[in-house]
Amino acid sequence: MTNVRIWLAQNYAPILAGLVFAAMFATYATKGSAGWQVAVLDTAANKAVALALISMAQTLVIITRGVDLSAGMIFIMTNCIASALVTGTPGDVALGICGVLLAGALAGLCNGLLVVFGRLPSIIVTLATGSIYSGIALAIRPTPGGSIDEDLADFLTSHLFGAIPTSLVLLLAVVLLVWVPFRMSVVGRHCYAAGSAESAAYMSGVSVSRAKLVAYTLSGLLSGIAGLFVTFVTYSGDAGATIGGAYTLNSIAAVVIGGTSLYGGAGGAIGSIFGAFTLRTIDDLLLAFGLPPLWQPLFQGIVLLGAVSLGAVRIFRLRNRMEVFQ
């Protein structure tokens, strides 16, 4: 019983985010003219999975008490790389995928090295490196274009067993192959420790540097997976910096909606995925209700404020005002 109480107390945020998403999606599916159609589901999933992957990337950095302003830029950079490399014979395609993921991980590692060894604040490091990655993307694709293996793209962006969007299966695979091992590993715990109380972690003999490097590198890898995936959706590469910026900010919003603390040390990627899904469902919902898309940022803002306010509700219940500051 105590175990259940403690588990709920520590996981209420992602559960809540999941419930909010479920409610919104159910409304959309019943109200929308399209209804429960496989094609609608595929499109919705494809749009949501890219943001979900970047939000997972963002989560890893935020857990270590950083913030990654370059997540969206790594995403467009790897998108452009993918549009150039992932084509040709099956061997070329496999090699190209490896190259894309490597580029993402490398970009994350660079961020990590600068933050850890330069002792620089992550916000400014990633602002700078983000510009660089965006520049690299432009160098590869001055104008939108390129191509990707279309068979693979069609497979990954449609559905399996008649109704399950392949992109969701892909997301699940990423969760199982990247997030779950991370959460169960020693280095994952050390990332949480470094984010919650860096000096205490150091004094406990934790290698804070290594933990952060792993977090940033995995984060880059996840942004790279997102970049690769979006290429399968669009069949091309686009170095538009505004897309990167929007994805970065939306990923931070998704992380917060999912209940991860911006102060580091608490939260997780599952909540962020639901956060991303929630954000993406907003425009679908607006469409279903026949409201102009202009309303989209407005509603996103309201949902974000709502999510942050939920975390603040406890302040009204606090009977010791000092706890506000903890």
Binding site: T2, N3, I6, W7, Q10, P181, M184, S185, V186, V187, R189, H190, Y192, A193, G195, S196, A197, S199, A200, A201, Y202, M203, S204, G205, V206, S207, S261, G264, G265, A266, L318, R319, N320, R321, M322, Q326
Partner: protein, 528 residues
């Protein structure tokens, strides 16, 4: 205070291992122009508790930081079990079986108790954690330190300070330490938890662990130590067997002053009492239960009892931090409602609180002495929308002189001062508000003997000037030495009020444990 006879088993281990386990020779460390350690020789053995004494700034902290790998010495050699060693990081020291339990807790607030206990090397394989094994491991260690009631899955942030310290100790135990450094490990504990730590230390000593014990509490050292080393000005001035020197001799080695005059004389109270602060039927949540207490102008009233019996909450309630407090508070006879610290420090109320944790709640460490001191009273120095630096500086200068704060000037950053001087800055900050009611929450915690003495004298001087002081301390000697009256808290209520000759250790201990009047004398003896 007498020395505890050394357990025969421990003596056997000591005889078996006469060679020192850890030996430091010629260790020096400088920070900028300041020499923290000057060619120090130091040794400790397995199966022995070695107490390290000294004022703040004597070099104790630097010594243990070098031993635990937090800082590297500029000079000198370190031998561990006969092998030359040099530690670059705390992790290095831990691999060699050296574990520190520090004053500043090394716990991660957002992780669970079990995750903290198994932080560096949890059970498991290939870098993955075996959660079931981790829980068993943590549960076992919590039982060993006598804290089986702490749930291993609970987040550390939800535990009280005392419980956190016990988790910290459990965490250190889990590392199979050969040398444990306890730095003021009991300063956050009282009563039950201190006893648990004592028996644990004795058990570890019997198991052959070398223990370095840093404490400012003389009775603890007299009770626990086998050997003592006294540090002064970065040097190890003497190492001797416990009991070889009396307390006052040891204190003289530390500071060159006599221990007798630690506490100022208590004045004989003749005038009719004029209550400055009256508390009636105060209650809050389930932590404060119908507390009634009054403090006269010029009186020091102590709050005693075990840790966490509502003393801190009483202070927070009086200072306007708690919401939903019921009951009446009167200042100089007038009923007041204190809804925030801002209201508390206002002229109409005039209550000041020196909080428990000076580093986070009391001071803004990266700011200067000046900015900290005038923070609470800055409004007084505003003229035509601007701060009048001249009058601000003049008042700060008066406080610095009155408290004899040792800082090069008021523009130095508070975080660079010693703990004692930081505490003086904090008290000075509140005196500058002109408050006539002072709430002191364990103001001498982790402070050296010399500064403690100055703070006792200051408290008495303020009282003589008409200030009413409520003083919470976890140290019985302080309550006995400083207070005109002592209210013992138990489970959120005042269990007993002591005054005059009734303020003696066995009365305090008995009331703290909520024992009946009949059992007082027996328990008093047992506690001694």
């Amino acid at each position: 205070m007498s020395m505890t006879p050394i357990d025969t088993n421990a003596r056997r281990i000591r005889e078996l291992s006469q060679a020192p386990f850890l030996q430091l020779s010629g260790i020096s460390k400088r920070y900028g122009g300041v020499t923290a350690l000057n060619s120090v020789n130091f040794a400790c053995r397995r199966g022995a508790v070695h107490a390290v004494l000294g004022e703040n700034g004597a070099g104790k902290s630097t010594l243990i930081k070098i031993i635990t790998g937090v800082v590297r010495p500029d000079d000198g050699h370190m031998l561990l079990d006969g092998q030359a060693v040099s530690f670059a990081t705390p992790a290095d020291a831990m691999r060699n079986g050296i574990v520190g339990i520090f004053q500043e807790l090394s716990l991660i607030p957002d992780l669970s108790v079990e995750a903290n206990i198994c932080l560096t090397s949890p059970p498991g394989q290939l870098g993955f954690i075996n959660f079931a094994a981790q829980r068993r491991f943590a549960k076992n260690l919590l039982d060993r330190v006598g804290c089986g009631d702490i749930h291993p899955g609970e987040l550390v942030r939800n535990l009280s300070l005392s419980r956190k310290q016990m988790v910290e100790i459990a965490k250190a135990l889990g590392r199979r330490a050969r040398l444990i450094v306890l730095d003021e490990a009991t300063s956050a504990l009282t009563g039950e938890d201190v006893k648990k730590v004592y028996s644990l230390i004795e058990r570890l000593r019997n198991e052959g662990v070398a223990i370095l014990y840093i404490s400012h509490r003389m009775h603890e050292i007299a009770h626990l130590a086998d050997e003592c080393s006294v540090f002064r000005n970065g040097q190890n001035v003497a190492t001797f067997a416990n009991g070889e020197h009396t307390d006052s001799e040891i204190v003289r080695m530390m500071i060159g002053r006599d221990f007798k005059h630690v506490f100022p004389e208590k004045p004989v109270r003749t005038k009719a009492p004029r209550p400055a602060l009256e508390i009636e039927h105060l209650s809050w949540a389930d932590r404060i239960k119908d507390v009634s207490l009054s403090v006269d102008a010029g009186e020091i009233v102590g709050l005693g009892g075990l840790d966490g019996q509502g003393q801190r909450e009483l202070f927070l309630a009086l200072f306007g931090v708690l919401r939903g407090v019921t009951g009446t508070v009167r200042v100089n006879g007038a009923s007041v409602t204190v809804s925030s610290p801002r209201k508390a420090k206002s002229k109409a109320v005039g209550i000041a609180l020196v909080p428990e944790d000076r580093k986070t709640e009391g001071l803004i460490l990266p700011m200067t002495v000046r900015d900290n001191m005038s923070l609470a009273s800055i409004g007084r120095y505003v003229q035509r929308l601007m701060i009048d630096r001249a009058s601000e500086n003049a008042e700060i200068g008066r406080q610095v002189e009155r408290m004899s704060i040792k800082a090069a000037n008021t523009d130095v950053v508070v975080g660079t001062l010693s703990g004692g001087n930081q505490q003086k800055v904090l008290i000075g900050k509140w005196l500058m508000t002109g408050a006539r009611i002072l709430l002191l929450n364990d103001p001498t915690r982790g402070i050296d003997v010399g500064t403690k003495q100055e703070i006792y004298a200051l408290m008495r001087k303020l009282a003589d000037e008409g200030t009413a002081i409520l003083f919470y301390s976890t140290d019985y000697d302080e309550l006995i030495g400083c207070c005109d009256r002592v209210a013992i808290f138990y489970d959120g209520a005042v269990r007993r009020e002591l005054d005059g000759d009734n303020i003696v250790e066995h009365n305090i201990v008995a009331a703290s444990l909520a024992l009946d009047a009949a059992a007082h004398s027996d328990e008093g003896k047992a506690a001694k």
